[in-house]
Subunit: 429 residues, 2 copies
């Protein structure tokens, strides 16, 4: 074993960073044995230098992250600050000054992954980010390496723990969105500003990253259709139950059936209770991967939290350190397939639509005609009426999102349709 | 991209090998792009040369596997013959003649993994075998790489599809073992001689491999306690149902609570219906991994079959080819922790014991005394009696296997105990 240690600079020492530092200390001997050389924490960049940080030598703490990554003797920079800047510049500077990088930053990777990979490649350095998607769950490495000889057709997953906690609460207690969100906030599962989670931004970043790796194609954040889960109601859950389904916020990356294009999207969807994702409870994450040869695989575990996320960061750190000792780098970005990334209109799935309609004869015929005119074939219709008001619940066969959107626009124009109460995609069948 | 191809020798072209060859042909362009060089099938060794093999150039087929691995121009040998010999000698010869090796051979790896790793290391070559455990499910790479910065405490899994199919049938239909086995055989889920599966030999080999990797300690096949599932009865399933459990054949690799020793075992066990492994149906496999930082992870998918297993083989092939192009090797055997591998007697778990007893006063007191004398604390007892015969169902708190064995021996000596109908461990709580 080499005795000269590999030097690690930690950028950020918050929820994730403090756990990374802790494990680096408590598991130092194991890490050294697994890497083949000791690893040394060479510096810790933070915003508030005077904050007491248990187990961290105050002499290592600095507010000058730039100077730290420019030191020139750093082997690996671990970026757990989050956000776009200064993280992006710090990572690029790290490459320029000879370090490899491990990051947990999904927002940055989803937005600027291509440029960061290019910078890593240019300087012959590694950029690893297992922790950026689904916390502790090994997902990027299995997609990039274990399935490297296979053809992935679909990635379907629950990749945001906060929204899964809220939806699970709504499902199990009948609570509305706000009530469930309040509970999630009180228990620390939702942040004070939950926008990134409940509006699907966080899941969309992960979908972009996953789709890029799964399909060997660059998928930009803008390519990901995004719909949050703030409009999901207790009534939607009752409809789902009637269909033998539950509702999950899903990230779905799919190859079109003709193989030539791919799509990536995030939205709430009904999935059958028999689907393994339906039983993913609380803040857990789970991702289904479907490929030609392997068939259906599922990966399940804690999608966030300081210590699970640190586990993923440290796995990457060990890999990057080993590469460094071997004088090599791991697999970089793979975007050779360069498939077309289609828009949401081309996604083909099934839909569950609730309409408020006038309770009079002929309404169903009118509605059915609109569906037929747009080429959307109906699987089942359920009619419920009382006091001159009625509701129609239509479940369609597979149709393109564009046809469905056209159908709904036309339905809204019908005099007999008072409103479209909800539209929910049905997945995982 | 390099244009000179990497040469692959395929040893065996049966269920798995034929799929490996097929995917190498149909996905040739993707493999080349992902590896950075084309891969060429340079030779295929089989037993019956005249058998028609779709898609395989007959000029590549040989019965002289030894000559093939000695050619000297082979980059990677894929061993999918199975069994100990000639596979073992062929792999060693391959290393001596400059090739790296990908294998799916759990029996060989469990028995001779240490020697084969040593040979690979001596010649600076790779030995990869993701397909040897749980078919398509990425498990060895996640344990060896993703969790390389974490401390694994337990691996608990369903790693044999045949036995899971049989147990699932027994559970869902109330069938007995033989009836369920017959159906598994008729459907092709069980081989003509099912011994390796139903007696737990196959699962024990996988447990040895998993424990070795998870605990960075050499675990020999002989170290694995093994109990098959041929004695599991319909009555056991009824008892399990009463306890809110089902029965699975589990491979369990555990670190003792004091951290100093580990155990590996395979046996049928009751697990709560609420445990994610309880809902693993049919021939699917699933493995739970518990570690200090990541918490609980689960990996699920098809544990066997030609094409899923080939997916895992090809993932390894891509990795080994990349290493070769980089002039490096991946992580080899890691046995530095060198923990004590304890015997079954030191395993601590709970037990469900059914006793046939005389239906007379004082029996329960007698039985309870025996448990107490052996330091096994009772959680619940249920008594059922009719016509002078009665049964006692005892569920214990956690106790060592040695104490339980002592208890059962003493119980058998009681006049009032007519027989011990079943002993089943209770796991996953
Ligand atoms: N938390 C999770 O469960 C989780 C899960 C997966 C991925 N991630 C990702 O991990 C990253 C970190 O998340 P976190 O939850 O650990 O965040 P956090 O608790 O807010 O910690 C951020 C850290 O960065 C430091 N920092 C902020 N601005 C800085 C600057 N300009 N220069 C130097 N240091 C600066 C902060 O310093 P002070 O301590 O002085 O404030 C703090 O130590 C994010 O990319 C996040 O998306 C988090
Ligand atoms: N099948 C699965 O689902 C699965 C799953 C995981 C792991 N595995 C492992 O994968 C390996 C292969 O399994 P399999 O199911 O593919 O076996 P298989 O169908 O029985 O194929 C064995 C192949 O090896 C050839 N062979 C046998 N002896 C040979 C010799 N002395 N020299 C050269 N070739 C020889 C056979 O030739 P002929 O074709 O001429 O008979 C046949 O092509 C085993 O280690 C198994 O444990 C299998």
């Amino acid at each position: 074993m080499r005795t000269r240690p590999l030097k690690v600079a930690l950028l950020g020492c918050g929820v994730v960073g403090s756990e990374v530092a802790r494990i680096m200390t408590t598991h130092a001997d194991d890490l050294a044995a697994r890497i083949g050389a000791p690893v040394e924490l060479a510096g810790v960049a933070v915003r508030r230098p005077s904050k007491v940080r248990e187990g961290i030598d105050p002499a290592l703490v600095t507010t000058d992250a730039t100077a730290l990554v420019k030191r020139g003797d750093i082997d690996v920079v671990v970026e757990v600050i989050g956000g776009i800047e200064p993280a992006r510049t710090l990572i690029t500077t790290a490459f320029e000054h000879g370090a490899s990088v491990v990051s947990a930053n999904k927002a940055l990777l989803a937005q600027d992954g291509a440029a960061l990979h290019a910078a890593a490649g240019q300087h012959g350095k590694d950029l690893y980010y297992e922790a950026a998607v689904a916390g502790a769950i090994p997902l990027i490495r299995p997609l990039r390496e274990s399935l490297a000889g296979d053809k992935v057709n679909r990635v379907l997953g629950i990749v945001n723990g906060t929204t899964n906690f809220i939806l699970d609460k709504m499902d199990s207690t009948g609570a509305g969105y706000q009530e469930a969100l309040d509970e999630a906030t009180a228990l620390g599962y939702a942040e004070a500003d939950p926008t990134a989670d409940v509006e699907g931004f966080d899941a969309a970043a992960k979908a972009a990253i996953l789709a890029g790796i799964a399909f060997h194609t660059r998928v930009r954040l803008d390519d990901v259709y995004r719909e949050g889960m703030t409009e999901v109601t207790a009534a939607d859950f009752r409809s789902a139950t009637e269909m033998g389904c539950t509702i999950k916020l899903l990230a779905i990356c799919e190859r079109a059936r003709d193989g030539a294009s791919v799509t990536a999207r995030v939205h709430p969807a009904m999935i059958p209770l028999s689907h393994p994702l339906a039983s993913v409870r609380g803040a857990y994450n789970a991702v289904f991967v479907e490929s030609d040869a392997a068939g259906q695989l599922m990966f399940y575990g804690p999608g966030a939290g300081g210590s699970p996320t640190a586990s993923a960061v440290l796995g990457d750190l060990v890999a990057v350190c080993r590469n460094r000792l071997n004088g090599t780098t791991g697999p970089g970005e793979s975007a050779y397939a360069d498939l077309t990334v289609s828009s949401m209109g081309e996604v083909v799935t099934r839909y569950h639509i609730s309409l408020d309609v006038a309770d009079k004869p002929g309404v169903l015929a009118q509605v059915a005609t609109v569906f037929a005119e747009h080429g959307v074939s109906i699987d089942t219709v359920r009619q419920q009426g009382k006091d001159g008001e009625a509701s129609l619940v239509v479940v369609t066969h597979r149709a393109s999102d564009a046809s469905l959107t056209g159908t709904v626009e036309a339905l809204r124009k019908l005099d007999t349709v008072r409103g479209v109460a909800s539209i929910m995609r049905v997945e995982g069948e």
